[in-house]
């Protein structure tokens, strides 16, 4: 490939100055004239029948403009299977479900009005434990008949089967995949090891809480500004819910202050729209932090049973997994997790005999959602903890054992898809070398502290069918305007996409402008999730650029009487190949004044990416097996911890991660993604846990829910975020692929391994709190 000018360079973020200086605008920064404030009354019961709702006192409060209940609901519902009413109707099914809405002239009045709404509840029996709820003939059925509901179109292709039975009505979805003969696999294994891992609920804790502002339009439609990761899908959701023609709902997602999978559910938007429709005025709904914890579609509690067989020579021989996923009261996006989670066990290691069952089970806990890693954190923790224990059982080094079982380039993985652009071995080697794997640490103990090291490897993909569109408009002054439906959630996509366009047009990044996430202007993009924006939207933008260049060259070729394919573009000048002097300025092909071109009008290139080109046969095989054809990323983590044997406290002292990402479009941005994964991973491993007692969230705030601060994670020279050499992905833009979700998945098992190395205890469940560590130390001493 020719030397690239912009792609592959660590150019500064295009949104950096705005964000650092505080001029970047997020949804909550916007206000409209005559805007009202919306608030939500939420259920105090996990399961109850709603009786009379008396809103008369609240309605009388000066400044209150509307009080709405489930009776005022629009026709449609929310969720992947459209099961959640916008406001609860006959029953509430979790603590925190919306029961009534208020719009008022001020936030204070709206909050006051909530206290004046009188709701009669008749409590019903509730169920919280997913394993309990999935037993046949459960006495509590969260939503009778739920398993018969079909998925909405965007997710219909995903392999989330309906293989659930009448006698287990709380099992919303089940997913199965197998390879070889699992029983034979275990019979042939020299060592078989089985464990149960339990994971509690965690929150994304995006800095910006969920927020939506809806303005009613004179034509009966709405404009909605929202902190939302998939504006294109949101538009479709909302038009279905309100039975409006699609273009009558315009969704605008400005900068988003963090999402991590938590802003995918049209959250807050239908409430703002209901209130706007009733009052005829703009309404803004901003979640409090407490509301984010209670109804922010937190990560799922999961129980994983895993049984592994291994040969004495180190070959992984059989693996069976059963995952029970606590979906909460409504479908959220977690139905997809039954399939998504499997990637953590199927794309990294070669295993001849494999069996997978996952179940998404309804309970009366808050609705679960997707979370950076989408099941990867939990599954990779279980798998990698097993890898440590298996290596030990056969007397092999944990690093060598992993390395010998990694898939190599071209091998077909357990999802039936090829391993490609894989640098898993190099990643593992790099982190092992950095941490000094195999060498003794400088010190093993100091006072009550003991030092240990751990390592992990991991593979992941993302469960979203690629489908992204983008337009690229060429202005006569040489500015390139990208219109894409992805969202800048902080991951840096606007910078990456600018670099791709700058490369295509051979211009500085500063000559590229973005319009993103506005459904009136920007084309469809399935979501900014699942590692896919660089890969999908990147490909799409590149194709749109090429389409625009083709149009330019056709016009110029006619003018210059040369062949279009002999033309080149650089810095706004058109060259005939081989000539050093420009033949035309880009502006020359426009009419004087620059409004457009004479024959073609505006130069707008269109791009579309819908995944790899597959033969019909190949596509059918892959879709039958898994539902989504995708790219996979691989990585490794090594770290060192100190454990206080008196208090149980665990500190991560040093940490290294390395991830393959094809050709990195912006190496520094990639390193920053890895850095951010460290904080996420350490938090999940050691600190974070939403405590729910009888359906009630006990710690919905940043005092009681412990996110590690800068003081709890290693920094500076104690951190190494590495990239391997960079094997280009043949289908990625400039060889790039995504990887951001992987960076928080391998940390907890490495910490668990380091703990074992330091003090000889094996912690299976997360989070590994100091009290649990102390308990395990005491149990071992007995």
């Amino acid at each position: 490939m020719d030397e690239l000018s912009t792609v592959g360079k660590s150019v500064p973020r295009v949104d950096g100055t705005e964000k650092v200086t505080g001029t970047a605008k997020f949804t909550n920064d916007f206000a409209l004239p005559r805007m009202l404030y919306g608030k939500v009354l939420r259920s105090p019961y996990p399961h109850a029948r709603i009786g009379r709702i008396d809103v008369s006192q609240a309605s009388k409060l000066p400044g209150v403009k509307a009080v709405l209940t489930g009776k005022d609901n629009p026709e449609g519902r929310m969720g992947v299977v459209l099961d959640r009413p916008i406001v609860a109707e006959d029953e509430v099914r979790f603590v925190g479900e919306a029961v009534a809405l208020v719009a008022a002239e001020s936030l204070e009045v709206a909050e006051e009005a909530l206290d004046l709404i009188d709701v009669e509840y008749e409590e019903l029996p509730a169920i919280f434990d997913a394993e309990e709820a999935m037993k046949p003939h459960s006495e509590v059925v969260v939503q009778p008949g739920h398993h018969l509901l079909p998925s909405i179109p965007a997710y219909a292709g995903h392999n989330i089967s309906f293989a659930t039975a009448e006698e287990t009505p709380n099992v919303y979805r089940a997913f199965h995949i197998e390879e070889g003969d699992i029983e034979q696999g275990f019979r042939e294994s020299d060592v078989v090891l089985e464990n149960r891992f339990v994971f509690t609920r965690t929150q994304h804790c995006a800095m910006e809480p969920h927020c939506a502002m809806a303005r009613p339009e004179p034509d009966g439609g709405f404009t909605v500004w929202a902190s939302e990761q998939h504006p294109s899908e949101a538009q479709l959701f909302l038009s279905r819910i309100f039975k409006l023609p699609v273009p009558k709902v315009r969704v605008i997602a400005p900068y988003i202050g963090g999402a991590f999978g938590g802003k995918l559910f049209v959250m807050g938007m239908p409430w703002a729209m209901m209130l706007a429709r009733r009052t005829g005025r703009p309404v803004k709904v901003v979640y409090s932090r407490e509301e984010v914890f209670v109804d922010g579609y937190s990560d799922v509690p999961v129980v994983i049973y895993i049984k592994d067989g291994v040969k004495k020579d180190g070959r992984l021989w059989a693996r069976s997994v059963k995952a029970v996923i606590n979906c909460g009261a409504y479908s959220g996006r977690v139905l997809l997790l039954t399939g998504s989670m499997v990637m953590g066990a199927t794309v990294n290691y070669r295993i001849p005999h494999f069996w997978w069952d996952s179940y998404c089970v309804a309970t009366n806990e808050p609705v679960s959602g997707s979370f950076r890693g989408f099941g990867g954190v939990q599954l990779i923790h279980a798998v990698e903890s097993q890898m440590d224990m298996l290596a030990r059982a056969i007397g092999m080094d944990a690093y060598k054992f992993r390395r010998m079982n990694l898939y190599k380039e071209g091998e077909i993985n357990l999802l039936g898809q090829p391993t490609h652009a894989v640098e898993a071995e190099e990643c593992l080697d790099k982190v092992a070398e950095w941490i000094g794997w195999g060498k003794k640490p400088e010190k093993r103990e100091e006072g009550p502290w003991r030092i240990g090291r751990g390592i992990s490897a991991q593979g992941k993909g993302g469960l979203v069918s690629p489908y992204s569109l983008a337009d690229v408009k060429v202005h006569f002054d040489g500015t390139i305007e990208i219109r894409h439906g992805a969202t800048e959630v902080g991951q840096g996509c606007n910078t990456i996409l600018s670099q791709i366009a700058a490369e295509e047009f051979q211009i500085p990044v500063g000559k590229v402008r973005q319009i993103s996430g506005d459904t009136a202007v920007t084309p469809y993009d399935i979501t900014s999730t699942a590692n896919l924006t660089t890969f999908n939207t990147g490909n799409t933008v590149r194709r749109a650029c090429q389409d625009a260049k083709r149009q330019i060259f056709e016009i110029a070729a006619e003018r210059l009487k040369v062949k279009a394919e002999d033309l080149e573009l650089k810095d706004g000048l058109i060259y005939t190949r081989g000539k050093t002097e420009a033949a035309l300025k880009l502006g020359d092909i426009f009419v004087p004044g620059g409004g457009g071109t004479a024959k073609r009008g505006e130069i707008i290139g269109h791009g579309v990416y819908m995944g790899r080109d597959l033969s019909k046969e190949e596509r059918e095989r892959i879709l039958k097996k898994f539902g989504v054809d995708y790219m996979f990323c691989h990585g490794a983590c090594a770290l060192e911890v100190a454990v206080n044997t008196e208090t149980g406290e665990v500190k991560v002292l040093r940490i290294a991660q390395c991830h393959d990402m094809g050709t990195p479009i912006n190496p520094q941005a990639c390193e920053a993604q890895i850095d951010s994964g460290n904080g996420f991973g350490v938090g999940r491993a050691l600190y974070e846990e939403i405590v729910i007692e009888n359906g009630v969230t006990v710690n919905p705030n940043f005092v009681d829910y412990k996110i590690p601060s800068m003081l709890e994670v290693p920094l500076g020279a104690e951190v190494s975020s590495m990239l391997p050499a960079g094997v280009p992905h043949e289908d990625g833009p400039y060889g790039g692929k995504g990887f951001g979700e992987s960076t928080n998945c391998g940390i907890s098992p490495a910490i668990a391994g380091a703990l074992y190395d330091a003090v000889g205890i094996r912690m299976l469940d997360l989070p590994i709190t100091r009290e649990r560590v102390l308990g395990a130390l005491k149990a071992r001493a007995r």
Binding site: E111, V698, N699, D704, K706, P708, S709, E771
Partner: protein, 289 residues
Amino acid sequence: MRPFEYLAPKDLDEACSLLSKHRDEAKILSGGQSLVALLRQRLVSPAYVIDIRRVPGLDYIREDKDGLSIGALTTHRTVEISPAVAKRFPMLAEAEHRLAHRQVRNWGTIGGNLSHADPGGDLAPSLMALGAEVKVVSAKGKRTIPVVEFFTDYMVTVIEPDEIMVEVSIPYLKAGSGGAYHKESIRAGDRPIASVAAVVSLDGKAGIIRSARIALGGVGLTPILAKEAGKSLAGKKATAAVVLEAGAIAAREAQPTADVEGSVEYKRHIVGLLTRDMLNLAMARAQSK
């Protein structure tokens, strides 16, 4: 947050007269680091908020003849970096250093912290162990209250609705005395799992503990003076065994409840460890004087 009337008295007299007028209906705002959170969560809904930040003469650290006096409006950060505090009471500077984060310490005041009376507050244990007093004033006059008598129940103090805290005074340690404080917390700057302050006075030549005062934070409805643990050390030779025993007694004197910071057993366990460590550190400091 519920609406309230905001009042900003210019001096102490005006503040006192506003308080005597509005009494229970008013809340005092100083740094706002505790009150604003309570207002936002609507845990308190006063009709009046009396902002005393502009009241002059309450922001000082003064080395008096018998002790150190700190004005109630002095910020945590000022105390943390004060040379006088570092010289006289390093344990207090250490407590301040781990109190929340610097942004909070830049705003929060010592008077606000004590009046808020969170049982996990970082200052009360040290002040109790050091035998400090607080001065409060009202339109009717002033009074002095030992910190050990200041807290009566969960977030309740002996301060009357018309009173304002104006000063904290701490008697200097005698020769051969030393103090130490540590908070064990899940994250740096968090509320404590448990915190322990110890002040020990040694009979230098004989290696005998003349007296010891131990105070506990975050393990009861109020900060707790662990009297029995302190008493158990008086007159004893400072051995590892008596220190451990004092820790065990302090753990029994603690009255923790289970919460996200830890279980009852774990908090007691931490009280025992910290008591041991703080006694040892306090004695080492006492000997170095």
